[in-house]
């Protein structure tokens, strides 16, 4: 098939400015993670293998643990809802908001909410919905999409942000000092927290034994969003359940270090239900929406290990392809190695369109090496490449292999071709007006052709021995 893959095209067209932002941000993340893990643990590998086995156990018994989490939450006074699809999740949340008469809310960063494009939907339906994470707030002002799981604006620099603040009236003048930018957002957002009637959050973990949700933020935005409002809605992927509260120690220690090189994220919040009679603050109503949206399809696939993911972004930081191409090149909520596996199967109907993502990897294995839950991402990428092949999904830029198969299975033709091909060294084939060849050479150079030299050497060697 003629052409180049969409992800390659994106990497080719990306601006130098954006690419440098991504490379700097992601490589810094990789370095910090490495130093912190190895400073604090003699054998960090043992910890991540343990985390992987807890996750595998949970996924293999997901029905039991999900039912247990539901039961715990209900007995704590929370309301539990289920959503099979993105549309179900959006409608469920809208119905809850209408039930409580909510017209204004803040939302702390949630990949699950990104996945279902919750913000634009709520705004269309008359609910003011403001992102409170600084990065996500800027994304929302720009009508952009996050390009990293943990650092949503890794692709932006301070000048772009200062221009956005000026354009949107967050600031009266242009100032690109990061501290000034942060202070201006602080003033703007705290007024919004106080006006809001509800908060929407995700959840990093849900403990089945107690129903307790663990939520982490560095900025304190989920805590601030939750403090003054009467309604809390948590949108949670069904794979976020873990068996027991004590398992949190394993995951929290890995999450902060893998994501941002911190032992713990600054605000680690544990919420198990609405406020109790003895508490002066906090939401009176708590709703938990457990969302499937393709996760059970992933569970039924041969890539189920990807459901172990705790969304730390370490694989994005370390990936040479992600660094060059940026998260947006993956054209879905999840970019980088985790996205290359998750997106094509989570959004199953888009598989043909996203089938290039698993191919955008040199299979170097760095993503598996840094993964806090030891997901064998390179193996999963190969399984998805195989799936695309079996389903005969056309692949841009793929070279037809059948002529090679003929050559390689016929010794005589092979021998002749080897010698004849030396002519390629003298032909201007890189500039030949043949589109597929041009695309192919657009990203590669061939070494000088030595066809037949090895055969000649073998033959001479045999002759001299005799």
């Amino acid at each position: 098939m003629i052409g180049i893959q969409p992800i390659d095209q994106y990497a080719r067209d990306i601006s130098d400015e954006k690419q440098h932002s991504v490379i700097d941000g992601s490589s810094a993340g990789t370095d910090k993670r490495y130093h912190v893990l190895h400073k604090d643990y003699p054998d960090p590998d043992a910890l991540r293998r343990l985390a992987a086995s807890i996750k595998d156990h949970t996924l293999h018994h997901l029905g039991d643990y999900l039912a247990q989490a539901e039961k715990s939450l209900i007995s704590n006074g929370a309301h539990v809802h289920y959503a099979s699809t993105d549309e179900d999740a959006r409608q469920t949340i809208l119905a809850i908001l209408r039930q409580h008469g909510v017209t204004q809310l803040t939302k702390s960063k949630s990949m699950a909410a990104e996945e279902i494009h919750l913000n634009p939907f709520l705004i269309e339906n008359g609910v003011e919905c403001l992102e409170s994470d600084l990065g996500e707030f800027i994304i929302q002002l720009d009508g952009d999409e996050p390009s990293h799981i943990v650092k949503p604006i890794i692709h932006k620099n301070r000048r772009e942000i200062a221009r956005t603040f000026l354009r949107e009236g967050i600031a009266a003048d242009y100032n690109d000092d990061p501290e000034t930018i942060t202070r201006r957002a602080r003033v703007h957002l705290r007024a919004k927290y106080m006006e809001a009637q509800a908060v929407i959050t995700g959840a990093n973990f849900v403990c089945a034994d107690s129903g307790r949700l663990a939520l982490v933020t560095n900025e304190g935005n989920s805590r601030f969003g939750m403090a003054p409002v009467p309604v809390h809605i948590a949108l949670v992927g069904i794979e976020k359940v873990i068996p027991e509260e004590k398992d949190l120690a394993v995951f929290l220690n890995l999450l902060g270090r893998s994501a941002t090189g911190q032992q713990l994220t600054v605000y680690t919040e544990f919420v198990s239900g609405p406020r109790s009679a003895s508490q002066p603050d906090g939401p009176e109503h708590m709703h938990v929406v457990f969302m499937d949206n393709g996760r059970t399809d992933v569970l039924a696939s041969n890539c189920k290990e990807i459901l172990r993911c705790i969304r730390c972004g370490a694989c994005q930081n370390v990936c040479p392809v992600y660094r060059q191409a940026s998260g947006h090149a993956y054209r879905s909520t999840y970019g980088g190695p985790v996205g290359a596996v998750l997106s094509p199967i989570l959004f199953g109907s888009r598989f043909p369109e996203l089938a290039d993502l698993p191919k955008a990897s040199s299979l170097c294995g760095a993503c598996n090496e840094v993964c806090p839950v030891d997901i064998p991402i390179p193996d999963l990428l190969l399984r998805l490449r195989d799936k695309a092949k079996r389903e005969s999904i056309p692949s841009a830029g793929a070279i037809p292999m059948s002529p090679f198969a003929t050559l390689a299975t016929s010794p005589n033709i092979w021998r002749t071709a080897m010698t004849m091909s030396k002519a390629m060294n003298h032909l201007p084939i890189q500039v030949a007006p043949i589109k597929p060849l041009q695309d192919w050479f657009g990203q590669r150079t061939l070494p000088e052709w030595h066809g037949g030299d090895f055969r000649k050497w073998m033959k001479d060697r045999r002759t001299s021995k005799n």
Partner: protein, 202 residues
């Protein structure tokens, strides 16, 4: 309807498994970070790790007053239960102190002094729990948050703190001041919550 469909799909996906992974029994010592736990005195371990995340450990009210005056943080809130301990000292130093947090005037409060439920030595975290923290916003909206704790409330490790959850529906571990690195990876403190996190031992 969604509920039944989701559970049916989980059931059918997992029915195909030949073997199911068992829950791994593990020794909690595996998750302890030995370098973080070096030392014997829990306050000293806590103070070292808390300072490493830019928290400010303090051992006396005079130290706190000096800090507030130096940084011109002169108006604030104090938990009524703590006021008898040092309220008068704050007032005598010229600070304005309220024991009722008025959310309509959230910008008025430059410092908030509230009760911590405990602290985690291993991670340098203060534990705030609404059952014993008088006002959640008072711990969050002022630039300076002072979490007051007693020596006996310091827990050694993260697993110890999890085991001590109890049945409180909302618990927070604050490990340093509010921070972000969203803009070009540059660390800025005081995003939404406090820019100064103090732990005051009484």
């Amino acid at each position: 309807m969604s509920r039944a469909a989701i559970f049916a799909k989980i059931e059918s996906a997992n029915a195909a498994l030949k073997t199911k992974a068992a829950y791994p029994e593990y020794d909690m010592a595996l998750v302890h970070s030995a370098p973080k736990l070096e030392g014997t005195d829990l306050w000293e371990i806590f103070a070292r790790n808390f300072a490493a995340v830019n928290g400010k450990p303090m051992t006396g009210i005079d130290q706190l007053i000096d800090f507030l005056v130096l940084h011109q943080q002169l108006r604030g809130y104090c938990d009524p239960a703590l006021y008898p301990h040092f309220g008068q000292k704050l007032v005598d130093a010229g600070l304005t102190v309220e024991t009722q947090y008025d959310r309509e005037r959230y910008d008025f409060y430059q410092f908030g002094i509230t009760r911590a439920t405990g602290a985690i030595a291993e991670s340098g975290s203060v534990i705030l729990d609404d059952d014993r923290t008088s006002h959640r916003l008072a711990a969050l909206s002022p630039w300076v948050h002072v979490a007051v704790l007693e020596r006996s409330e310091i827990l050694r490790t993260i697993p110890d703190a999890i085991a001590a959850f109890g049945d409180s529906p909302n618990i927070i571990w604050a490990t340093g001041p509010s921070k972000t690195a969203d803009v070009e990876g540059i660390l800025i403190e005081g995003v939404h919550g406090p820019g100064e996190q103090i732990a005051l031992l009484i």
